[in-house]
């Protein structure tokens, strides 16, 4: 082994070895942090998911009981349903809206940089502040959303956050607030599409829609695919909005999966049960991601491929 190592070191050279050392030196804070604060707790939570555990008293091994109890838990299914509906709504709407705005911001017009900043700005505001702001916007009597609905369209807006049918659409609507990040990604991709494609299409007589459907969108599919996966994962982890704005109500209509997990862990002292919930969420996301990856070959176009 020593001989092999010596040979390798000789092959690497002094400069390369220095770089290797520097690499390990610089990565070690992250690595140590990952081992202690992420990998350790992740594996511990897996162990605790097979226990009754309240953090304070010793864990008691119960095998799969937490998992089987969860499958019989009405609120578990309710939270899963709420989260799935939100996920479909927010991911689809988010992709459409951010792609649309990115296309607008990609046009060569005066002051476009200002608009790009304006559209990105909401993304940097913290979740709690955004939630409080939207509580005002969605207020039934004094909110701007209902005011606009009434003044512009003559419609009496619903009681967004107090109505079991409107609370999820309201939170989906609110999710548009954070599409700035996706817009930037779409914009970057749009600006990376070679202009020769469009020039060639124009010579062939293609119009705006034809170019959009036949050139822009196919070349955007890798980015749409990326945003879909990250969007789905993000949407299953929604917590702040429900915690701050609705507390899961009315009548559990906005009881998101992670909110219910949080309650079990920190309000009901059921850390083992919550750990099982966390691992089920992980499995759900793995399956969804796998499905998206499997289907991607049918609709995602990679130039290099």
């Amino acid at each position: 082994m020593n001989l092999a190592m010596t040979k390798r070191r000789t092959r690497l050279g002094v400069q390369a070895r220095k770089e290797e050392r520097a690499f390990f030196l610089f990565i070690s804070p992250w690595l140590v942090g990952f081992i202690f604060f992420t990998a350790g707790p992740i594996l511990a939570s897996f162990y605790f998911s097979f226990n009754f555990y309240d953090v304070v008293t010793p864990a008691r091994w119960v095998g799969l009981l937490n998992y089987t109890d969860l499958l019989k838990d009405e609120l578990f299914w309710q939270s899963l349903k709420v989260t799935a509906i939100y996920s479909v709504g927010s991911v689809a709407l988010g992709i459409l809206a951010s792609l649309f705005i990115a296309l607008l911001l990609n046009r060569n017009i005066h002051g476009v940089a200002v608009f790009r900043t304006i559209f990105y700005l909401p993304s940097v505001i913290s979740g709690v502040a955004v939630s409080l702001l939207w509580m005002w916007l969605l207020n039934t009597d004094f909110g701007m959303v209902n005011f606009v609905l009434l003044k512009v369209f003559g419609i009496h807006g619903p009681s967004w956050l107090m109505n079991k049918y409107w609370v999820i659409p309201a939170i989906v609507l609110m999710s548009l607030w954070g599409i700035g990040g996706s817009i930037v990604i779409y914009l970057a991709r749009l600006q990376g599409i070679p202009t020769e494609f469009f020039e060639a299409a124009e010579i062939d007589g293609a119009g705006y829609w034809s170019k959009l459907v036949n050139i822009t969108l196919p070349l955007m599919t890798p980015v749409i695919f990326f945003n879909t996966i990250t969007g789905v994962i993000g949407s299953f982890q929604v917590f702040t909005q429900a915690y701050v704005m609705t507390s899961g109500g009315p009548n559990n209509a906005s009881l998101f999966y992670v909110l219910y997990l949080y309650r079990n862990a920190f309000r009901y002292w059921r850390m083992g049960y919550a750990s099982a919930q966390a691992w089920i969420l992980f499995m759900i996301l793995i399956v969804l991601t796998a499905i998206l990856l499997r289907t991607s070959s049918r609709w995602v176009y990679y130039e290099a491929g």
Partner: protein, 478 residues
């Protein structure tokens, strides 16, 4: 010189070893006291620490500007009286209080004294052995000490005959009144005498509220913020919790599931509360209350004339152009056949079962709860009443300008509220109540939104509540 160099393989090996160690450490069985086996403490003895070196203790409190200033000042006064003790405060946001306390306790670095937090599940901590029982400290005090505490303050946290925590302040439940709205409508003020057997019937409350309501102007007579089934069952003369469960601190069942009279009281009470919005139309609907509440506290803005809630309704800055009063809680049932709901919020102090300085911690608890100079400091920052009988009147007198009531009426009201009080709220004193409360809250939302009747809601929520209790008991392994 032959230097030992770490190559990538060694580095990864070290990383894996450290990771395995961390995992093993986190999975290792703990040596803490098993559940429900509350550690005993010896009678107060002199600490082993030398007098020359101050003993350092910690107290944890929720983040709240006024309360944090109050605690800082309390610590300053305490340290002046006890130069041998140094007190360090830890302030934690409300929602993070319990998770932080749990993890600190498990890590062996819990604060010596637990102050007021967010959700405050005091008995949940006791049943898990996180707190010292205080009987031996209290018994070691002179008889004057216990005689000076209002009985509800001393007994609120007595479980299985043991004192799990010592209440240090009391917030009475009552009906808080915007007297200006009463004056404008020429309506007489509501009663303040808790001892009057006639009480103040629910029908009288609604009749008064009707005179004060103008829904077109979004002005309402009443807001029964106490939405929970527990209150309404008690007002209608019954109780959802059995005497045994109150005594043990462990919730085993909801009495309405097996006792028809309790069930009827629960249904009638909840329906009456819903009727304030949809039938009597004297209270704002949840939606309207949500809107009005975003402008400011409804009692203080005058949107409501009466609020059935805790004393915090008249805390903080009160608008100078308005006057405020207090009144006794309504008496439920037809023609006042129920009972006047006599409950308080009693916030306690607890001592950590792992503290290395129990005597010093007790001195701090005793100081905050009972000593006049501490209570005077507390009065500067908030209006929560002390548990000490001897300072109550002077405490109320010092704050007499808050309410537009003669001082003798204020003393009569507050003293009556504490002396008549039977219990603090179940959130604080019953293991398993948190989940049941969430079940109740979710179920009753359909009632408050006028989507279901009280009976439908009760029939739906009782089995769910029992399932939540059973799941909790199964995990507690008592």
């Amino acid at each position: 010189m032959n230097k030992t160099k770490m190559n990538r393989r060694d580095f990864l090996r070290l990383g894996m070893l450290t990771s395995a160690g961390a995992i093993l450490a986190s999975c290792a069985p703990k040596t803490e006291t098993p559940a429900a086996e509350v550690p005993k403490v010896e009678a107060p003895t002199a600490t082993a620490q030398t007098a020359a070196q101050p003993v350092k203790i910690q107290i944890m409190w929720r983040t709240n500007p006024d309360e944090n200033k109050m605690l800082d000042e309390l610590i300053k006064v305490f340290q002046g009286k006890h130069p041998d003790i140094t007190v360090e405060s830890i302030y934690v946001p409300w929602d993070e209080y319990e998770p932080k306390l749990m993890t600190m306790y498990t890590s062996g670095i819990a604060p010596d004294v637990y102050g007021t937090g967010g959700t405050n599940p005091y008995i949940e901590r006791w049943v898990r052995g996180m707190v010292l029982e205080l009987d031996e400290f209290v018994n070691a005090e002179s008889s004057n000490f216990t005689q000076d505490i209002f009985p509800v303050g001393l007994n609120a946290y007595r479980k299985k005959g043991k004192l799990a925590a010592l209440a240090f302040c009391i917030c009475p439940s009552g009906v808080w009144v915007n007297a200006t709205r009463f004056d404008e409508a020429s309506v007489p003020y509501p009663p303040i005498d808790w001892t009057d057997p006639k009480g103040w019937s629910w029908e009288e409350v609604i009749a008064t509220a009707k005179k004060l309501t103008n829904a077109d102007e979004k002005k309402y007579g009443f807001n029964p913020s106490h939405a929970g089934p527990w209150y309404y069952t008690r007002m209608w003369g019954k109780d959802l919790v059995s005497k045994e469960d109150y005594e043990s601190g462990i919730l085993h069942k909801i009495m309405a599931s097996s006792d028809t009279a309790v069930y009827d009281a629960l249904v009638a009470g909840l329906q009456a509360r819903a009727d304030t919005m949809w039938k009597d139309k004297v209270a704002p609907s949840p939606d309207t209350a949500n809107s009005l509440g975003q402008i400011g506290p409804m009692l203080k803005t005058g949107a409501i004339a009466m609020e059935f809630t805790g004393g915090w309704a008249v805390w903080g800055d009160l608008p100078k152009e308005m006057k405020f009063r207090a009144a006794i809680n309504p008496k439920g049932g037809v023609g006042g056949s129920g009972t006047t709901c006599k409950n308080i919020w009693a916030d306690p102090l607890e001592i950590c079962s792992k503290t290395k300085a129990p005597d010093q911690s007790w001195k701090l608890v005793r100081f905050i709860a009972m000593e006049p100079d501490a209570i005077a400091v507390e009065g500067k920052y908030r209006n929560v009443l002390p548990v000490s009988k001897s300072v109550l009147e002077s405490f109320i007198t010092a704050q007499k300008d808050r309410l537009a009531m003669p001082i003798e009426d204020q003393i009569k009201f507050y003293k009556g509220a504490i002396e008549q009080a039977e219990t603090t709220v179940p959130d604080h004193i019953l293991v398993g109540w948190a989940k049941v409360r969430d079940v109740f809250n979710s179920a009753t939302e359909s009632l408050w939104l006028n989507e279901k009747t009280a009976k439908e809601v009760v029939d739906d929520m009782l089995p769910k509540a029992q399932a939540a209790i059973d799941a909790n008991l199964k995990e507690l392994n008592l």
